[in-house]
Symmetry: C2
Subunit: 212 residues, 2 copies
């Protein structure tokens, strides 16, 4: 059984303890006797997967979450199924924040990813100066590059602080490891979505004797 | 005497108590007996102004500010010359934050403007859903449009709060009026940059008997 989380930029795979990502136009051949169980937020990439592998299974109809939120992305539903209490930050091309409390999803928000925010400066040439990821966030910037870097990172950090309060923070996604360093009560877990998928598979499929 | 602040998107004019903005490719004819005193962060727009009006005066060489910040934009220097204590937020295509204390500039930062941050969602079609400017910022979002709107506005508000602490906040720029509504200790002043220019003109030029 291979797990696959199809995002907007990459297809993320999990197989026997190993995670890796692939671009949709360059998918590797996988053992055709293994089922690929997937969730997806990108139809084009889903088509590429279905064309590249003979035996795929869409987990979407089995996914659910106790929430009032309308239109929650399937990747966020999966990550929320991995924990029952805490804040989940998935920092990729977009950054999503979701709060779980006693197995209930309380709500969430979405901001552009770090690279996307940086693109917001492209139209103003003097501000298109790259990002200093080690800019001090506890002192006031004194030059343009630090001012831009601070203006990208500090609002994200403040939002996460404001969101998480005393809850444990679970980071995942490409920029998750970097962002997790700013918080004491945080862990980085690149398996979070796969753990949520696995919980669903165990609870809804294999426990009912369905063979994949 | 007409004052002009040349930004990245518009040329902003001040004349006899009235302010207005013009695009660089559609500049109006002005009274040719009046000098246009300008500062600029955009060379192309400066050229357009110089071609459209016979008598222009660049205030840049007269501008100064007590600061350790390297590369502060001339429009920010002008705005900082308008006050001696407080936080200045110029919310246009970029949002700049600057702190003044006893006439000294302590530092500042820059983030993309609201419209620019919104563009960061364009590449993800499901998130390109527009912005709800009246999204509640004290409750957790429960749908995609609110989650995106919250993710654009809340980090900006938190950064301004964190920056300003108990200082008075002076908002200017296109989104300044909207953002000022989130703060009690704030005023919106669309003349801030012109007031700073006027202070420089009074202190450095007309007080010395230079005739413009």
């Amino acid at each position: 059984m291979i797990l696959c989380d199809i995002g907007n930029t990459f297809l993320h795979f999990y197989y026997r303890g190993r995670v890796w990502k692939e671009k949709r136009n360059n998918l590797s051949q996988k053992d055709s006797s293994e089922v690929v169980i997937y969730i997806s937020v990108n139809q084009e990439s889903t088509r590429s997967l279905l064309l590249s592998h003979p035996y795929c299974f869409d987990l979407t109809p089995y996914m659910n979450l106790d929430t009032n939120y309308k239109g929650l992305g399937i990747d966020r539903i999966a990550a929320c199924n991995a924990i029952s209490d805490g804040v989940i930050i998935d920092a990729g091309s977009a950054i999503t924040l979701d709060i779980m409390h006693d197995g209930l999803h309380l709500g969430g928000c979405i901001l552009p990813g770090i690279a996307q925010i940086q693109k917001g400066f492209k139209s103003i040439s003097v501000l298109d100066c790259g990002i200093n990821l080690s800019v001090p966030l506890d002192t006031l910037p004194q030059n343009t590059k630090d001012a831009v870097s601070y203006g990208i990172l500090k609002p994200i950090i403040l939002l996460i602080e404001n969101f998480s309060k005393n809850k444990k923070i679970y980071f995942t996604g490409g920029d998750g490891k970097f962002l997790s360093r700013f918080f004491e009560n945080a862990i980085y877990d690149d398996l979070l979505i796969f753990k949520g998928m696995q919980n669903i598979i165990t609870a809804k499929i294999t426990s009912k004797g369905i063979y994949l």
